[in-house]
Amino acid sequence: MRTHEQRDLTARLSALAEAPAPPAALDAPAAIARGRVRLRRRRRALIGAVAGSTAAVLAGVLLLRPSGGPPVPAVPAPTAPSTLAPSPTTTPTPVATGPLSAEAGFGWLPPWLARPAVGHANSDGRSVVTAATTTAVENAVPALRLELLRDTGASLAPGTHTVAAPAVAGREAHWLVTDASGAPVGLRWLTASGRWAELRATVWTGAKVKDDLLRVAADVRFGDRDVPFPVRPTGVPADLKVRNVEVHRPSKDSEPPWSAMLSYTVGGKWLSVTVQPDGFGVFADGRPDGGTPVCRVEKGVQLCVNGTATGIPSVQGIGGPAGLLTRFTVLGADEASWSTGGGL
Protein backbone atom coordinates (compact mmCIF):
# COMPACT_ATOMS: atom_id res chain seq x y z
CA MET A 1 0.00 0.00 0.00
CA ARG A 2 1.48 3.25 -1.07
CA THR A 3 1.32 6.39 0.96
CA HIS A 4 0.22 9.74 -0.36
CA GLU A 5 3.86 10.79 -0.32
CA GLN A 6 4.87 7.88 -2.55
CA ARG A 7 1.99 8.44 -4.99
CA ASP A 8 2.97 12.08 -5.16
CA LEU A 9 6.54 11.11 -5.98
CA THR A 10 5.34 8.81 -8.75
CA ALA A 11 3.21 11.63 -10.19
CA ARG A 12 6.14 14.06 -10.08
CA LEU A 13 8.50 11.57 -11.73
CA SER A 14 5.98 10.91 -14.50
CA ALA A 15 5.50 14.63 -15.09
CA LEU A 16 9.24 15.18 -15.24
CA ALA A 17 9.73 12.31 -17.71
CA GLU A 18 6.95 13.67 -19.92
CA ALA A 19 8.34 17.21 -19.94
CA PRO A 20 9.28 18.71 -23.33
CA ALA A 21 12.62 17.29 -24.43
CA PRO A 22 15.10 17.94 -27.25
CA PRO A 23 14.87 15.56 -30.22
CA ALA A 24 16.19 12.10 -29.48
CA ALA A 25 19.64 11.29 -30.82
CA LEU A 26 19.50 7.49 -30.79
CA ASP A 27 21.30 5.97 -33.77
CA ALA A 28 20.27 2.31 -34.20
CA PRO A 29 22.63 1.60 -37.16
CA ALA A 30 25.54 2.93 -35.07
CA ALA A 31 24.53 0.66 -32.18
CA ILE A 32 24.48 -2.30 -34.57
CA ALA A 33 27.85 -1.37 -36.07
CA ARG A 34 29.49 -0.97 -32.64
CA GLY A 35 27.78 -4.12 -31.42
CA ARG A 36 29.22 -6.12 -34.32
CA VAL A 37 32.73 -4.85 -33.54
CA ARG A 38 32.32 -5.95 -29.92
CA LEU A 39 30.98 -9.34 -30.97
CA ARG A 40 33.97 -9.86 -33.26
CA ARG A 41 36.34 -8.91 -30.40
CA ARG A 42 34.55 -11.26 -28.07
CA ARG A 43 34.82 -14.15 -30.55
CA ARG A 44 38.53 -13.43 -31.08
CA ALA A 45 39.10 -13.34 -27.31
CA LEU A 46 37.26 -16.64 -26.94
CA ILE A 47 39.38 -18.25 -29.64
CA GLY A 48 42.52 -16.87 -27.96
CA ALA A 49 41.41 -18.18 -24.58
CA VAL A 50 40.75 -21.66 -25.97
CA ALA A 51 44.11 -21.66 -27.74
CA GLY A 52 45.84 -20.47 -24.56
CA SER A 53 44.20 -23.14 -22.42
CA THR A 54 45.09 -25.83 -24.95
CA ALA A 55 48.69 -24.67 -24.99
CA ALA A 56 48.81 -24.63 -21.18
CA VAL A 57 47.48 -28.19 -20.98
CA LEU A 58 49.95 -29.31 -23.63
CA ALA A 59 52.81 -27.63 -21.76
CA GLY A 60 51.74 -29.35 -18.55
CA VAL A 61 51.69 -32.73 -20.26
CA LEU A 62 55.18 -32.16 -21.66
CA LEU A 63 56.51 -31.11 -18.26
CA LEU A 64 55.08 -34.25 -16.66
CA ARG A 65 56.66 -36.60 -19.18
CA PRO A 66 59.31 -38.73 -17.41
CA SER A 67 61.84 -38.37 -20.20
CA GLY A 68 60.57 -35.20 -21.79
CA GLY A 69 62.68 -32.62 -23.52
CA PRO A 70 63.53 -29.25 -22.03
CA PRO A 71 60.79 -27.73 -19.82
CA VAL A 72 58.27 -25.68 -21.75
CA PRO A 73 57.23 -22.42 -20.09
CA ALA A 74 53.56 -22.36 -19.21
CA VAL A 75 51.40 -19.99 -21.23
CA PRO A 76 49.79 -17.42 -18.92
CA ALA A 77 46.06 -17.89 -18.63
CA PRO A 78 43.82 -15.07 -19.83
CA THR A 79 43.35 -12.43 -17.19
CA ALA A 80 40.11 -12.06 -15.28
CA PRO A 81 39.00 -9.85 -12.40
CA SER A 82 40.99 -11.04 -9.47
CA THR A 83 42.48 -9.95 -6.20
CA LEU A 84 46.22 -10.36 -6.39
CA ALA A 85 48.70 -10.58 -3.59
CA PRO A 86 51.79 -8.45 -4.03
CA SER A 87 54.70 -10.49 -5.33
CA PRO A 88 58.43 -9.88 -5.02
CA THR A 89 59.66 -7.56 -7.74
CA THR A 90 62.93 -7.13 -9.53
CA THR A 91 64.96 -3.97 -9.09
CA PRO A 92 62.72 -1.20 -10.38
CA THR A 93 63.75 1.38 -12.91
CA PRO A 94 62.66 4.75 -11.54
CA VAL A 95 60.66 6.92 -13.90
CA ALA A 96 61.81 10.48 -14.21
CA THR A 97 58.45 12.17 -13.80
CA GLY A 98 57.22 14.26 -10.94
CA PRO A 99 54.37 13.82 -8.47
CA LEU A 100 50.91 15.18 -8.97
CA SER A 101 51.16 18.89 -8.58
CA ALA A 102 48.95 21.92 -8.61
CA GLU A 103 49.88 25.31 -10.05
CA ALA A 104 47.04 27.09 -8.33
CA GLY A 105 44.59 26.57 -5.51
CA PHE A 106 41.36 28.04 -4.29
CA GLY A 107 41.23 30.43 -1.37
CA TRP A 108 37.78 31.91 -0.71
CA LEU A 109 34.85 29.92 -2.09
CA PRO A 110 31.26 31.12 -2.38
CA PRO A 111 28.69 29.88 0.12
CA TRP A 112 26.60 28.27 -2.67
CA LEU A 113 29.37 25.70 -2.93
CA ALA A 114 28.06 23.72 0.00
CA ARG A 115 30.55 21.16 1.33
CA PRO A 116 33.06 21.97 -1.43
CA ALA A 117 34.89 19.00 -2.87
CA VAL A 118 38.19 19.59 -4.63
CA GLY A 119 39.76 17.60 -7.47
CA HIS A 120 43.21 17.93 -9.03
CA ALA A 121 44.42 16.71 -12.39
CA ASN A 122 47.61 16.91 -14.43
CA SER A 123 46.57 16.05 -17.95
CA ASP A 124 48.57 16.49 -21.16
CA GLY A 125 50.75 19.06 -19.46
CA ARG A 126 47.82 20.97 -18.00
CA SER A 127 47.18 21.45 -14.31
CA VAL A 128 43.54 21.88 -13.39
CA VAL A 129 41.77 22.30 -10.06
CA THR A 130 38.04 21.98 -9.62
CA ALA A 131 35.74 22.73 -6.72
CA ALA A 132 32.15 21.60 -6.58
CA THR A 133 29.46 20.77 -4.13
CA THR A 134 29.40 17.09 -3.30
CA THR A 135 26.06 16.86 -5.06
CA ALA A 136 27.46 18.34 -8.23
CA VAL A 137 30.40 15.96 -8.14
CA GLU A 138 28.10 12.98 -8.02
CA ASN A 139 26.47 14.35 -11.13
CA ALA A 140 29.85 14.92 -12.72
CA VAL A 141 29.36 18.67 -12.97
CA PRO A 142 32.08 20.75 -11.33
CA ALA A 143 30.85 24.11 -10.15
CA LEU A 144 34.20 25.86 -10.53
CA ARG A 145 37.17 24.93 -12.68
CA LEU A 146 40.48 26.75 -12.36
CA GLU A 147 43.41 26.51 -14.75
CA LEU A 148 46.59 28.46 -15.29
CA LEU A 149 46.80 28.55 -19.09
CA ARG A 150 49.92 27.33 -20.91
CA ASP A 151 49.09 29.32 -24.00
CA THR A 152 50.43 32.80 -23.29
CA GLY A 153 48.36 34.16 -26.17
CA ALA A 154 45.28 32.80 -24.39
CA SER A 155 43.44 31.79 -27.55
CA LEU A 156 39.70 31.39 -27.29
CA ALA A 157 37.61 28.33 -27.93
CA PRO A 158 35.45 28.58 -31.06
CA GLY A 159 32.13 30.25 -30.40
CA THR A 160 33.35 32.43 -27.55
CA HIS A 161 34.64 35.98 -27.21
CA THR A 162 35.71 38.23 -24.36
CA VAL A 163 34.12 41.22 -22.70
CA ALA A 164 36.00 43.56 -20.37
CA ALA A 165 35.68 42.65 -16.70
CA PRO A 166 36.74 44.52 -13.55
CA ALA A 167 40.46 44.12 -12.81
CA VAL A 168 41.51 41.19 -10.62
CA ALA A 169 44.23 42.11 -8.09
CA GLY A 170 44.86 45.20 -10.21
CA ARG A 171 45.43 43.22 -13.43
CA GLU A 172 43.57 42.99 -16.73
CA ALA A 173 40.55 40.67 -16.73
CA HIS A 174 37.86 39.58 -19.20
CA TRP A 175 34.59 37.70 -19.07
CA LEU A 176 34.37 34.75 -21.45
CA VAL A 177 31.00 34.75 -23.18
CA THR A 178 29.38 32.63 -25.88
CA ASP A 179 28.88 34.20 -29.31
CA ALA A 180 25.41 32.75 -29.73
CA SER A 181 23.68 33.84 -26.55
CA GLY A 182 26.11 36.22 -24.90
CA ALA A 183 25.89 34.03 -21.79
CA PRO A 184 28.97 34.12 -19.56
CA VAL A 185 30.99 30.94 -19.15
CA GLY A 186 34.03 32.15 -17.23
CA LEU A 187 36.59 34.75 -16.27
CA ARG A 188 40.18 35.20 -17.45
CA TRP A 189 42.74 37.40 -15.76
CA LEU A 190 46.42 38.12 -16.06
CA THR A 191 48.52 36.80 -13.20
CA ALA A 192 51.76 38.17 -11.76
CA SER A 193 53.72 35.51 -13.69
CA GLY A 194 52.45 36.89 -17.00
CA ARG A 195 50.28 33.83 -17.66
CA TRP A 196 46.51 33.95 -17.89
CA ALA A 197 44.37 32.19 -15.34
CA GLU A 198 40.93 30.93 -16.28
CA LEU A 199 38.04 30.30 -13.95
CA ARG A 200 34.96 28.63 -15.39
CA ALA A 201 31.68 28.10 -13.62
CA THR A 202 28.77 25.84 -14.37
CA VAL A 203 26.37 27.79 -12.17
CA TRP A 204 25.28 31.17 -13.49
CA THR A 205 21.89 31.58 -11.95
CA GLY A 206 21.61 34.40 -9.46
CA ALA A 207 22.85 37.95 -9.73
CA LYS A 208 25.80 37.48 -7.41
CA VAL A 209 27.66 34.84 -9.41
CA LYS A 210 29.80 37.37 -11.29
CA ASP A 211 30.70 39.15 -8.05
CA ASP A 212 31.50 35.81 -6.45
CA LEU A 213 33.75 34.80 -9.33
CA LEU A 214 35.71 38.04 -9.08
CA ARG A 215 36.17 37.40 -5.37
CA VAL A 216 37.22 33.77 -5.95
CA ALA A 217 39.72 34.92 -8.59
CA ALA A 218 41.19 37.58 -6.31
CA ASP A 219 41.85 34.94 -3.64
CA VAL A 220 43.40 32.23 -5.85
CA ARG A 221 46.84 31.15 -4.57
CA PHE A 222 49.45 30.56 -7.27
CA GLY A 223 52.67 28.56 -7.07
CA ASP A 224 53.59 24.91 -7.56
CA ARG A 225 52.77 22.56 -4.76
CA ASP A 226 52.51 18.81 -4.39
CA VAL A 227 49.13 17.16 -4.10
CA PRO A 228 48.85 14.20 -1.68
CA PHE A 229 48.34 10.93 -3.55
CA PRO A 230 47.25 7.49 -2.24
CA VAL A 231 49.87 5.36 -4.03
CA ARG A 232 53.51 5.81 -4.97
CA PRO A 233 54.70 4.30 -8.27
CA THR A 234 58.00 2.47 -7.72
CA GLY A 235 59.41 1.00 -10.88
CA VAL A 236 56.79 1.43 -13.55
CA PRO A 237 58.40 0.58 -16.93
CA ALA A 238 60.16 3.66 -18.25
CA ASP A 239 58.48 3.58 -21.65
CA LEU A 240 55.07 4.19 -20.10
CA LYS A 241 54.43 7.90 -20.51
CA VAL A 242 52.15 9.59 -17.99
CA ARG A 243 49.18 11.12 -19.76
CA ASN A 244 46.90 12.00 -16.90
CA VAL A 245 47.03 11.88 -13.11
CA GLU A 246 44.05 12.84 -11.02
CA VAL A 247 42.79 12.62 -7.50
CA HIS A 248 39.31 13.48 -6.42
CA ARG A 249 38.09 13.85 -2.87
CA PRO A 250 34.33 14.53 -2.79
CA SER A 251 33.76 14.11 0.95
CA LYS A 252 33.91 11.55 3.72
CA ASP A 253 30.18 10.93 3.23
CA SER A 254 30.45 10.17 -0.48
CA GLU A 255 30.65 6.72 -1.98
CA PRO A 256 33.58 6.34 -2.40
CA PRO A 257 35.07 9.19 -0.35
CA TRP A 258 37.97 9.55 -2.79
CA SER A 259 39.31 8.11 -6.04
CA ALA A 260 42.46 8.49 -8.08
CA MET A 261 43.74 7.47 -11.47
CA LEU A 262 47.00 7.35 -13.38
CA SER A 263 46.80 6.96 -17.16
CA TYR A 264 49.77 5.95 -19.29
CA THR A 265 50.38 5.60 -23.01
CA VAL A 266 53.01 3.76 -24.99
CA GLY A 267 53.20 3.08 -28.71
CA GLY A 268 49.57 3.85 -29.39
CA LYS A 269 48.36 1.66 -26.53
CA TRP A 270 47.08 2.86 -23.19
CA LEU A 271 46.49 1.63 -19.70
CA SER A 272 45.25 3.22 -16.55
CA VAL A 273 45.58 2.35 -12.90
CA THR A 274 42.46 3.22 -10.95
CA VAL A 275 42.63 3.56 -7.18
CA GLN A 276 39.87 3.81 -4.59
CA PRO A 277 39.06 2.49 -1.11
CA ASP A 278 38.06 -1.18 -1.17
CA GLY A 279 34.38 -2.00 -0.82
CA PHE A 280 32.86 0.18 -3.54
CA GLY A 281 32.85 -2.29 -6.44
CA VAL A 282 35.44 -2.31 -9.20
CA PHE A 283 36.56 1.14 -10.31
CA ALA A 284 36.64 0.60 -14.08
CA ASP A 285 38.24 3.20 -16.31
CA GLY A 286 35.07 3.36 -18.36
CA ARG A 287 36.57 3.58 -21.83
CA PRO A 288 34.99 1.15 -24.32
CA ASP A 289 38.25 -0.73 -25.00
CA GLY A 290 39.17 -0.91 -21.30
CA GLY A 291 38.88 -4.68 -21.12
CA THR A 292 38.31 -6.47 -17.84
CA PRO A 293 40.18 -4.80 -14.99
CA VAL A 294 42.78 -6.79 -13.06
CA CYS A 295 42.73 -5.74 -9.42
CA ARG A 296 44.66 -6.03 -6.20
CA VAL A 297 43.67 -4.95 -2.68
CA GLU A 298 46.17 -3.83 -0.07
CA LYS A 299 45.73 -1.79 3.11
CA GLY A 300 42.06 -1.29 2.30
CA VAL A 301 42.88 0.21 -1.10
CA GLN A 302 41.83 -1.30 -4.42
CA LEU A 303 44.12 -0.84 -7.45
CA CYS A 304 42.98 -1.98 -10.90
CA VAL A 305 44.76 -2.04 -14.25
CA ASN A 306 42.50 -1.22 -17.18
CA GLY A 307 43.24 -1.02 -20.89
CA THR A 308 45.51 -2.69 -23.36
CA ALA A 309 48.28 -3.56 -20.88
CA THR A 310 48.53 -7.14 -22.11
CA GLY A 311 49.73 -5.87 -25.48
CA ILE A 312 52.58 -3.78 -24.07
CA PRO A 313 55.90 -5.70 -24.12
CA SER A 314 57.45 -3.85 -21.16
CA VAL A 315 54.37 -4.61 -19.04
CA GLN A 316 54.41 -8.25 -20.13
CA GLY A 317 58.06 -8.31 -19.10
CA ILE A 318 57.20 -7.58 -15.49
CA GLY A 319 54.38 -10.08 -15.28
CA GLY A 320 51.55 -8.33 -17.14
CA PRO A 321 48.87 -6.30 -15.36
CA ALA A 322 49.34 -8.31 -12.14
CA GLY A 323 53.05 -7.57 -12.15
CA LEU A 324 52.44 -3.92 -12.89
CA LEU A 325 50.22 -3.62 -9.83
CA THR A 326 53.11 -4.69 -7.62
CA ARG A 327 55.00 -1.60 -8.84
CA PHE A 328 52.83 0.67 -6.75
CA THR A 329 53.37 1.24 -3.04
CA VAL A 330 50.02 1.63 -1.33
CA LEU A 331 50.02 4.32 1.34
CA GLY A 332 46.61 3.59 2.81
CA ALA A 333 42.93 4.40 2.56
CA ASP A 334 43.28 7.15 5.15
CA GLU A 335 44.22 10.43 3.49
CA ALA A 336 46.41 11.28 6.48
CA SER A 337 48.86 8.59 5.33
CA TRP A 338 49.19 9.90 1.78
CA SER A 339 52.49 11.04 0.43
CA THR A 340 53.39 13.83 -1.95
CA GLY A 341 56.69 12.25 -2.98
CA GLY A 342 57.69 9.54 -5.42
CA GLY A 343 57.91 9.43 -9.17
CA LEU A 344 54.91 8.89 -11.33
Binding site: H4, L13, L26, E138, S181, G286
Partner: protein
Amino acid sequence: MAERTRDTEFTEYLASRSGWLRKVAYLLCGDWHRADDLVQECATKLYVNWSRAGRVENLDGYARRVLVNTFLAEQRSSWWRRTTRTATPTEVASVAADLDVQLDLRRALAALPPRQRATVVLRYYCDLTVDQTADAMRCSPGNVKSQTSRALATLRTTLAPRPATAERTS
Protein backbone atom coordinates in the same frame (compact mmCIF):
# COMPACT_ATOMS: atom_id res chain seq x y z
CA MET B 1 20.26 -14.30 -43.10
CA ALA B 2 20.35 -14.84 -39.34
CA GLU B 3 22.19 -11.56 -38.92
CA ARG B 4 19.58 -9.75 -40.99
CA THR B 5 16.78 -11.20 -38.88
CA ARG B 6 18.64 -10.23 -35.73
CA ASP B 7 19.13 -6.68 -37.02
CA THR B 8 15.48 -6.36 -38.00
CA GLU B 9 14.22 -7.60 -34.64
CA PHE B 10 16.65 -5.37 -32.79
CA THR B 11 15.79 -2.27 -34.83
CA GLU B 12 12.06 -2.88 -34.39
CA TYR B 13 12.43 -3.30 -30.66
CA LEU B 14 14.53 -0.18 -30.37
CA ALA B 15 12.09 1.85 -32.45
CA SER B 16 9.24 0.87 -30.16
CA ARG B 17 11.01 1.14 -26.80
CA SER B 18 13.73 3.78 -27.16
CA GLY B 19 11.38 6.58 -26.09
CA TRP B 20 10.60 4.80 -22.85
CA LEU B 21 14.25 3.92 -22.23
CA ARG B 22 15.19 7.55 -22.84
CA LYS B 23 12.75 8.75 -20.19
CA VAL B 24 14.11 6.29 -17.65
CA ALA B 25 17.64 7.37 -18.56
CA TYR B 26 16.69 11.03 -18.16
CA LEU B 27 15.30 10.43 -14.68
CA LEU B 28 18.49 8.60 -13.78
CA CYS B 29 20.94 11.23 -14.99
CA GLY B 30 18.88 14.45 -15.16
CA ASP B 31 20.18 15.53 -18.56
CA TRP B 32 18.64 14.73 -21.95
CA HIS B 33 21.98 14.65 -23.78
CA ARG B 34 23.50 12.28 -21.26
CA ALA B 35 20.29 10.27 -21.43
CA ASP B 36 20.82 9.88 -25.19
CA ASP B 37 24.39 8.70 -24.57
CA LEU B 38 23.16 6.20 -21.99
CA VAL B 39 20.48 4.81 -24.29
CA GLN B 40 22.97 4.60 -27.16
CA GLU B 41 25.40 2.57 -25.03
CA CYS B 42 22.54 0.48 -23.69
CA ALA B 43 21.41 -0.22 -27.27
CA THR B 44 24.90 -1.37 -28.24
CA LYS B 45 25.04 -3.72 -25.25
CA LEU B 46 21.58 -5.02 -26.09
CA TYR B 47 22.66 -5.77 -29.65
CA VAL B 48 25.76 -7.62 -28.44
CA ASN B 49 23.58 -9.75 -26.14
CA TRP B 50 20.54 -9.93 -28.40
CA SER B 51 20.50 -13.73 -28.51
CA ARG B 52 20.41 -13.81 -24.70
CA ALA B 53 17.83 -11.01 -24.62
CA GLY B 54 15.63 -13.05 -26.93
CA ARG B 55 15.52 -15.87 -24.39
CA VAL B 56 14.46 -13.81 -21.37
CA GLU B 57 10.85 -13.71 -20.35
CA ASN B 58 10.71 -9.96 -19.89
CA LEU B 59 12.70 -8.17 -22.59
CA ASP B 60 11.77 -4.72 -21.30
CA GLY B 61 13.02 -5.69 -17.85
CA TYR B 62 16.26 -6.95 -19.35
CA ALA B 63 16.74 -3.71 -21.31
CA ARG B 64 16.00 -1.65 -18.20
CA ARG B 65 18.54 -3.63 -16.20
CA VAL B 66 21.19 -3.03 -18.89
CA LEU B 67 20.35 0.69 -18.83
CA VAL B 68 20.51 1.03 -15.04
CA ASN B 69 23.79 -0.83 -14.83
CA THR B 70 25.24 1.25 -17.65
CA PHE B 71 24.30 4.35 -15.68
CA LEU B 72 25.76 3.04 -12.42
CA ALA B 73 28.97 1.92 -14.16
CA GLU B 74 29.37 5.36 -15.70
CA GLN B 75 29.26 6.92 -12.24
CA ARG B 76 32.38 4.96 -11.37
CA SER B 77 34.38 5.93 -14.45
CA SER B 78 37.09 8.57 -14.49
CA TRP B 79 36.09 11.72 -12.72
CA TRP B 80 38.46 13.73 -14.89
CA ARG B 81 36.93 12.69 -18.20
CA ARG B 82 33.42 13.22 -16.87
CA THR B 83 34.19 16.66 -15.49
CA THR B 84 36.06 17.70 -18.61
CA ARG B 85 33.22 16.61 -20.83
CA THR B 86 30.72 18.65 -18.86
CA ALA B 87 32.90 21.63 -18.08
CA THR B 88 30.70 24.07 -19.97
CA PRO B 89 27.36 25.13 -18.56
CA THR B 90 25.24 23.56 -21.29
CA GLU B 91 22.46 22.84 -18.86
CA VAL B 92 21.89 26.39 -17.74
CA ALA B 93 19.51 27.33 -20.54
CA SER B 94 17.36 24.24 -20.22
CA VAL B 95 17.28 24.55 -16.44
CA ALA B 96 16.00 28.07 -16.77
CA ALA B 97 13.26 26.89 -19.08
CA ASP B 98 12.00 24.21 -16.72
CA LEU B 99 8.88 24.62 -14.72
CA ASP B 100 9.50 25.26 -11.05
CA VAL B 101 8.08 21.93 -9.98
CA GLN B 102 10.18 19.99 -12.45
CA LEU B 103 13.27 21.93 -11.50
CA ASP B 104 12.51 21.22 -7.87
CA LEU B 105 12.38 17.46 -8.52
CA ARG B 106 15.42 17.50 -10.79
CA ARG B 107 17.44 19.22 -8.11
CA ALA B 108 16.16 16.87 -5.45
CA LEU B 109 17.02 13.81 -7.56
CA ALA B 110 20.42 15.26 -8.39
CA ALA B 111 21.12 15.57 -4.68
CA LEU B 112 20.75 11.80 -4.25
CA PRO B 113 23.72 9.46 -4.67
CA PRO B 114 23.43 7.45 -7.92
CA ARG B 115 22.27 4.18 -6.38
CA GLN B 116 19.57 5.93 -4.33
CA ARG B 117 18.45 7.78 -7.46
CA ALA B 118 18.25 4.52 -9.39
CA THR B 119 16.23 2.96 -6.59
CA VAL B 120 13.73 5.84 -6.60
CA VAL B 121 13.33 5.71 -10.38
CA LEU B 122 12.88 1.95 -10.48
CA ARG B 123 10.48 1.79 -7.56
CA TYR B 124 8.37 4.90 -8.11
CA TYR B 125 8.58 5.55 -11.85
CA CYS B 126 8.94 2.02 -13.21
CA ASP B 127 6.69 0.73 -10.42
CA LEU B 128 8.91 -2.24 -9.57
CA THR B 129 8.68 -4.21 -6.36
CA VAL B 130 11.60 -4.41 -3.94
CA ASP B 131 12.60 -7.81 -5.35
CA GLN B 132 12.37 -6.66 -8.96
CA THR B 133 14.43 -3.57 -8.12
CA ALA B 134 17.03 -5.72 -6.40
CA ASP B 135 17.22 -7.91 -9.49
CA ALA B 136 17.63 -4.91 -11.79
CA MET B 137 20.36 -3.39 -9.63
CA ARG B 138 22.04 -6.71 -8.84
CA CYS B 139 21.85 -6.22 -5.10
CA SER B 140 19.89 -7.64 -2.18
CA PRO B 141 16.28 -6.69 -1.34
CA GLY B 142 17.58 -5.42 2.01
CA ASN B 143 19.91 -3.06 0.20
CA VAL B 144 17.01 -1.75 -1.91
CA LYS B 145 14.96 -1.15 1.24
CA SER B 146 17.74 0.80 2.93
CA GLN B 147 18.51 2.80 -0.23
CA THR B 148 14.81 3.59 -0.63
CA SER B 149 14.45 4.64 2.96
CA ARG B 150 17.44 6.95 2.81
CA ALA B 151 16.36 8.40 -0.53
CA LEU B 152 12.83 9.15 0.69
CA ALA B 153 14.20 10.75 3.85
CA THR B 154 16.37 13.05 1.74
CA LEU B 155 13.59 13.86 -0.72
CA ARG B 156 11.29 14.69 2.18
CA THR B 157 13.65 17.46 3.20
CA THR B 158 14.37 18.78 -0.30
CA LEU B 159 11.02 18.52 -2.10
CA ALA B 160 8.34 21.09 -1.46
CA PRO B 161 5.01 19.37 -0.68
CA ARG B 162 2.29 19.43 -3.35
CA PRO B 163 -1.44 19.38 -2.83
CA ALA B 164 -3.07 15.93 -2.77
CA THR B 165 -5.04 16.77 -5.94
CA ALA B 166 -1.85 16.47 -7.95
CA GLU B 167 -1.77 12.71 -7.51
CA ARG B 168 -1.38 10.52 -10.55
CA THR B 169 -4.68 9.24 -11.80
CA SER B 170 -3.50 6.61 -14.28
